[in-house]
Structure formats: structure tokens, C-alpha cells
Amino acid sequence: MQVQSPPNTEPPSLNLIDQLSIPEGLPSECSRRAKTQIDLLLLAIEALDLGGAEAMLASAKELGLDEVVRGRVNLWLLRSSNPLRRFSQRQPMSLEEGKALVLITCFLARRLTVLIRQLLLGYQQLSDQGLSFDHHFRLSDYLARFRSHFRARMNANRSGVIAYSTDEKLNELAIELLTKLLFCTGTEGAERLWISLFDGEVA
């Protein structure tokens, strides 16, 4: 009888962006929902990590994606294609750009795996005991930061944003995004996230 441990995850190769599959019937550009989801996940990463915005640029270089995400302004423009944004740019996001942002999201999420797991465990314990989030310093810190980021950057007049007008709703959204980020840290995280962005978009 032989025992084998699972194979190690391979380091990102140069043509990383091509590893994400493009299933049949995919639209030629990212949908509204995809643009919103990607931006919200990046917002959650910023709330987890104060240097998140810088880390996004750095990881774009590290992953060899600086051809697609060309510097700070380009990254800002891409994120501003989120229709919920206060200064939404109404510009399309190509599949390549979407892939690049998905890869950056998963790369950063993987680096934050420990923190994400801690926060989710903390959330689970607090809700088991019926306690408020204030009892977990890191968690309440994350939630407060996410709320302020969200309110500062999203257009409060959009119906999609009005749905998150209360602290409770925003906390729920923040926890939901945290769970999604956890799933992004997995072996197939990037592929899963990428595919999930097109749910309901194909025939």
C-alpha cells in the first residue's frame, strides 16, 4: 500500500492568463455583474489589507499581467467600470482584463488566507453565541473599514447601493465577500471565481 500526498500547486507560469478557460457561449466582454463582483472583492481586500491598492499593482507585475493592467490609472479605470461606483466609467471590460483582475484577486486572497480564515471563524463563534461583532477586534475593524470604503466610493443613489443603506446590510455583504475570498484561495480558486462571474450569462 502506498500513500501519496497531493501534488503541490505549481508556481504561476508566464502565460497565467491563458490558464483560465473560456467556456462556450461566453459573451465578448464582462457583464455588469462580473464588473461589480470583481470590484467588490478588491474592495474587501483593501479593507483587509491597508496596502491593498499598492499590492494590486505590485502583484500585477509579479504575475506578469502589467501588459493588461497598465499602471495605477488603468487599474482605477478598470475598477471604475463597476456600475455602482460614484464615478462609474461606463466602459466595457474585456475578458482579458477581467481575467487579470480575477488572478490578482485570487493571488492577494491567497496571501491573506490566514486572516480570512481567522475572521470567518471569529464570525462563526460570535454568531453562535449571539454576540455583536464588536467582541472581535479584527473582525469589527474589517467591517468598519469595508463600510467606509463602500460608502465613500459607491453612488448612494443607485438602487443596487440603496439596498445596502444600513450597517447590518453592509456587514452581511462584507462577510459574504469574505467567504467568497476564502473560496478564491483554493487550488481552483481563480478558475472557480472566473467561471462563477458568468453564471446566468450563457445560453
Binding site: 500500500m1 502506498q2 500513500v3 501519496q4 500526498s5 497531493p6 501534488p7 467556456p23 457561449g25 461566453l26 480564515r117 470567518l120 471563524l121 464570525y123 462563526q124 454568531s127 462577510i175 467567504t179 467568497k180 476564502l182 473560496f183 484561495t185 483554493g186 487550488t187 481552483e188 478558475e191 472557480r192 471565481l193 467561471i195 462563477s196 462571474l197 458568468f198 453564471d199 446566468g200 450569462e201 450563457v202 445560453a203
Partner: protein
């Protein structure tokens, strides 16, 4: 050759025992036959055990549910047409429920024939998903099982929201419309008032009016000696007509009859009231003057000329009736000279009417000519057409008239009860007359 594969994570581990049945070179390490699959989840006393069917259903359900967590849309966890042996449902808060049917999982002696419901936290679920993903990634173990990640087709997303939920807005909309319709149906239907039938009714009424009716012809008009004094009790035009007609024939109040009646009334009136009234009809000069001063009012009431003709006729008919309405001559009364006091009285009259009405009157606009003496008391009023006459009861005017008030100096006002319940007061002869 038997072999074992383990995929271990902090909260979950998958242990697969199987055989390699393909001895060809390069394939001898591939596990192609699964003997037993064991799934251990931290915090759970017993592990889940099962054969190939259990494991295949488990990895499919876990893989599909992972996509559901990421996108929020429910993914089908079995291939269509197959029984749902293992599935995962979202639960409250951070929890999810892994439900395994008893027929495919080997539970040992503890099995009681019911489905097993395992509560998984988000982190446990992720570890299970990750173990499954690592298994998928391992091409040396059961390579025929694939993750089958693909975007959800549009038809599944649509069915995500149940029909009942989608129907709610439409139902609310239709319901509101129905409720509004019913509420409107409860309101009384507005009474349709036809001026012709009104006049008819007035005629019938007049028929039974007792003999104190001064216009009946049997009794001479009281004139200046009448106790009612200057406030000559006069029925406005239509009733006067009817009265006059009463002596002859009270049947219909058609236009022809009306005209005849006017003539009759005029004749009667001429006989009896020469002293009292300046018969304007016989005095064309003063009529011209009236027209000149009335230019304001003309613009306000396009049909004013009609009114005036009737008025002139009625003016001569100083016949008194049961109501205390007054008939005025068509000349302005001896006026208050100061423009300011005309304006003050204008405001005062409006204030008086508004304060004394029980509630605003709605419906067709009705106009009255109201005479107000210098000291601010109302000495008389005159409806200017039949609809105004019919609506007297709805205005506070009858109760406001003061008997015996001095009419030496007075101002005539036009009082309009508009269709929206507003009272409008303006000088009868126009503001320019007093300037």
C-alpha cells in the same frame, strides 16, 4: 495493487482506498477502481464512508455548491434524471447543510434510516471543497471524475427566483388598481342638474306657494310700503317667470314659455313699480352707460350680455317671492366715494361669506350680485342666473342679509362661488368705476 490517497486539510480529509487495474506502463500508479471513500470532517464523531457512487455524488455536489457560494445562484447538484443522493443547502448565518441519503453512505450501526444532515461552517465547507479540488487536480486518482466547472445557463438563473416572488409586484399593482376602483365606486355619483328641469321644479313649487306671493297678480305689489322695505322680495328671473305663468298655464318651462313669461312679467311689473324703479328697459341711454362701465365684467363672463338682458327684464319685474333675494336695478347705487373703502368692503364681504359658510361649495360656478351698504352690512343679493338661483341654499347669503339697513350709500359686488369651492369677490361695476 491496492493504494490509498489522502487529501488533508485542517477541517476535512478525504481518504480514498482503491486498486490499480491497468498494468500497462505509465498507468500502474493510477487508481482506477475505488473500494472505499472516507470523508472525515472535524467536529464530527463518525466519518462518512461509501463506495464509488457516494464519492462521485459527493464531489459533484461539493464542486457545484462551491460555484453557488461564489455566484449566489443555485447550481444543479445532480445530473438531470438522477436521484439526489448528496446535496448541500445554504443554512442560517455562517452555516451550510450537507445532506446525505442513507442508502449510499455506510453509517455502520448508528444508521437509523434517516438522511444525515451535517452542519458545515463556511471554513469547513471550504476545506471540503478544497479537498475535492485537490482530488480533481490529481490526475493519478479516478481520472474519469471531472470538476465540470461551467457557467450556469440562463434558464437556471431564471428559475432561481420562484414564480410567486416574481408575481408579487404584478399582483400588488393589480390589487391596488382594484382597491382604488372599489373605493371610487363607494363615492356617491354626482347629481346631474339640468337647468330645464330645475326651472320646471321651480314652476311646480310656485304653484303651491300661498297667496302672499306678490307677483301672483291677485294682490298689488307692496312697493316701498312693504315691511320688507328696500330689500324687495323678488324671485330671480325664472321663478318670477313661473309665478307669472302660474296664473295662466303651468306646464312646461320651455324656452318659448320663458320668453313669454318674461314679457308677461314685464307688463305686470311696469304696471306696478314705476315709482320704485327706474325702468331701465325704457331708458336706452342709461343702458349704454351700464355697458360702458361693465367692460371688466364682460371680459370675465363671456355670457354676461345674456345675463344682463335677463337682468334688465328681471329688474323691471319687481315681483316679490318667498325667498329674500333682491332684484337690483341696473344702475350703480349711490356709491361710497373712496376707492379705499370699496376695497375694504370688498375684503370684508369676502371674509363674512367665508366665515359664515358651513363648508366650501363645490360644483358649477355660481355668481351673485350682492349689495353692501357703507357700514358693512349686506342689504340684498341677486342670483344672476338660474343655476345661481338653485344654489342659493348652498351659500350663506340668505342668512347674511340685514333688514332695514341703510342703503343710502352702497356698493354692488360680484360674488362668485367657483367650482373649486373658492369665494371670489369683486366690485360689480369694476374697480375702475370707483377710481
Amino acid at each position: 495493487m491496492t493504494m490509498q490517497r489522502q487529501y488533508q486539510l485542517p477541517n476535512c480529509s478525504l481518504i480514498l482506498d482503491g486498486l490499480s487495474i491497468d498494468p500497462s506502463p505509465g498507468n500502474e500508479d493510477v487508481m482506477s477502481l475505488l473500494v472505499n471513500a472516507e470523508c472525515r470532517i472535524s467536529g464530527l464523531e463518525r466519518s462518512l464512508n461509501g463506495g464509488y457512487n457516494f464519492f462521485a455524488a459527493l464531489v459533484r455536489a461539493v464542486s457545484q455548491y462551491g460555484q453557488e457560494v461564489l455566484s449566489g445562484y443555485a447550481h444543479p447538484q445532480v445530473i438531470e434524471g438522477e436521484p439526489l443522493l448528496v446535496h448541500i443547502n445554504p443554512g442560517d448565518g455562517p452555516y451550510h447543510h450537507l445532506v446525505v441519503q442513507p442508502e449510499i453512505a455506510d453509517l455502520g450501526e448508528s444508521g437509523d434510516g434517516r438522511a444525515i444532515d451535517i452542519k458545515l461552517s463556511a471554513v469547513q465547507l471550504f476545506d471540503l471543497t478544497e479537498a475535492v479540488d485537490q482530488f480533481f487536480d490529481d490526475k493519478q486518482t479516478l481520472p474519469e471524475l471531472e470538476p465540470e466547472l461551467s457557467p450556469l445557463a440562463r434558464r437556471f438563473v431564471r428559475s432561481d427566483e420562484p414564480l410567486s416572488d416574481r408575481a408579487v409586484p404584478a399582483v400588488i399593482g393589480v390589487g391596488t388598481l382594484v382597491a382604488a376602483t372599489m373605493a371610487l365606486g363607494l363615492l356617491p355619483v354626482p347629481e346631474l342638474r339640468d337647468p330645464n328641469t330645475e326651472a320646471n321644479a321651480g314652476a311646480e313649487l310656485a304653484e303651491v306657494v300661498p297667496a302672499d306671493d306678490t307677483a301672483s297678480g291677485s294682490e298689488p305689489p307692496t312697493g316701498a310700503s312693504d315691511p320688507e322695505g328696500e330689500e324687495i322680495a323678488a324671485v330671480p328671473l325664472d321663478e318670477a317667470n313661473a309665478d307669472a305663468e302660474a296664473s295662466t298655464e303651468v306646464d312646461t318651462a320651455t324656452l318659448v314659455n320663458e320668453t313669454e313669461a318674461v314679457e308677461d312679467a314685464t307688463e305686470v311689473a311696469e304696471e306696478v313699480t314705476e315709482t320704485d324703479v327706474d325702468a331701465i328697459a325704457a331708458n336706452p341711454g342709461s343702458e349704454d352707460a351700464t355697458e360702458a362701465t361693465d367692460s371688466d365684467s364682460d371680459s370675465e363672463f363671456s355670457s354676461f350680455d345674456d345675463f344682463k338682458e335677463e337682468e334688465d327684464a328681471a329688474t323691471t319685474a319687481t315681483a316679490a317671492t318667498a325667498t329674500n333675494a333682491t332684484t337690483f336695478d341696473s344702475e350703480p347705487p349711490a356709491s361710497v366715494n373712496s376707492f379705499a373703502s370699496v376695497r375694504t368692503l370688498n375684503g370684508q364681504l369676502k371674509q363674512t361669506i367665508v366665515e359664515n359658510r358651513e363648508q366650501p361649495r363645490f360644483g358649477d360656478a355660481v355668481s351673485y350680485r350682492v349689495r353692501m351698504s357703507e357700514d358693512g352690512s349686506i342689504t340684498g343679493y341677486q342670483p344672476i342666473d338660474s343655476s345661481a338661483e338653485g344654489a342659493i341654499g348652498e351659500t350663506p347669503l340668505p342668512g347674511l342679509v340685514k333688514d332695514g339697513a341703510s342703503e343710502d350709500r352702497a356698493v354692488d359686488y360680484r360674488v362668485v362661488f367657483t367650482e373649486r369651492g373658492v369665494v371670489e369677490v369683486s366690485p360689480w361695476w369694476g374697480w375702475s368705476y370707483y377710481e
